[in-house]
């Protein structure tokens, strides 16, 4: 494989995957926050039933 400009190609691929990874992490964090909130609200409702 022609190795000219290899570093920047690597940066390119890395940037692409990093952005996707960043978004997946964001989704995961949101999931965790929502789950915690859901449990909390479910507990708020449960004793009153």
């Amino acid at each position: 494989m022609d190795n000219r400009n290899f570093t920047f190609m690597f940066y390119g691929f890395f940037a692409g995957w990093a952005i996707i990874g960043f978004y997946v992490v964001l989704l995961g964090l949101r999931e965790r926050r929502l789950r915690k909130e859901l449990d909390r609200v479910r507990q708020m409702v449960a004793p009153q039933k």
Binding site: R4, N5, A15, I20, L34
Partner: protein, 227 residues
């Protein structure tokens, strides 16, 4: 059922991407002038097509919401726009890295790049608008309108290459009438496209599930505060 589909999609995506990675680096022949940086096209092109596909789905979903009034369409539009925005960001970044080598600059103010940037900004505005409105029906209605306006921008980006004299390379894919790719170079683009579409679909599904959860939280909270 849904989680099975999700896992299936992600597996397919990862498998395709892995196999394609081998393809991209070992099998595809070298390009004459650009060196290794040419291979960035295998991320750049598939992600932009995924992004545009997403924006198109968002448009259809927004129009469906406006005509039918079902909140499902609004949730789909929001989820798809968010994921497509991620892919659009990847396009801008990978394009910029390529440009640093080939053009010598990170950015050029030329029609295609500028219109892609405003497209991204318009849809980012869509997400900002959604966060600024609390009432669900109003939020759905107004963001649907913004989505429709945003799609005009997508069309401008797509056609910019035909209308203006741009610095951005002309289309090279055989389906767009270009003829610039040697045998064996085009295939991996489509495989990567399939992989990214699978990945995007999975992410949209996760996003929509989270939307559903958030709505459940809202209704439970309302129930809790009734007492």
């Amino acid at each position: 059922m849904r989680s099975k589909i999700l896992i299936g999609l992600v597996t397919v995506a990862v498998a395709l991407l892995g196999w394609n990675l081998y393809n991209i680096f070992m099998v595809v022949p070298d390009e004459a002038n650009q060196g290794a940086i040419f291979r960035i096209i295998y991320i750049h092109l598939p992600t932009i097509f995924t992004g545009f596909l997403g924006f198109m789905v968002a448009l259809v979903s927004s129009i469906l919401y406006l005509t039918k009034g079902d909140m499902k369409y609004d949730a789909l539009a929001a989820g798809v726009t968010e994921v497509s925005l991620v892919f659009a960001a990847i396009v801008l970044v990978t394009g910029s890295i390529w440009a640093r080598i080939i053009w010598g600059v990170w950015w050029a103010w030329e029609p295609r790049l500028t219109s892609m940037l405003i497209c991204w900004l318009t849809y980012a505005g869509y997400l900002m608008l959604r966060r600024a409105i609390d009432e669900p029906a109003q939020r759905a209605r107004l963001s649907a309108v913004v989505s429709i306006f945003g799609f005009v921008e997508v069309i401008i980006v797509y056609k910019a290459i035909d209308w203006f004299r741009t610095l951005h390379p002309q289309p090279v894919l055989s389906v767009r009438g270009g003829g610039g790719m040697a045998k064996g170079m085009e295939g991996p683009i489509y495989w990567n496209l399939l992989a990214f579409v699978c990945l995007a679909t999975a992410m949209v599904m996760i996003r929509m599930k989270q939307d559903e959860t958030s709505r459940e939280i809202d209704s439970l909270r309302r129930e809790a505060h009734q007492y």
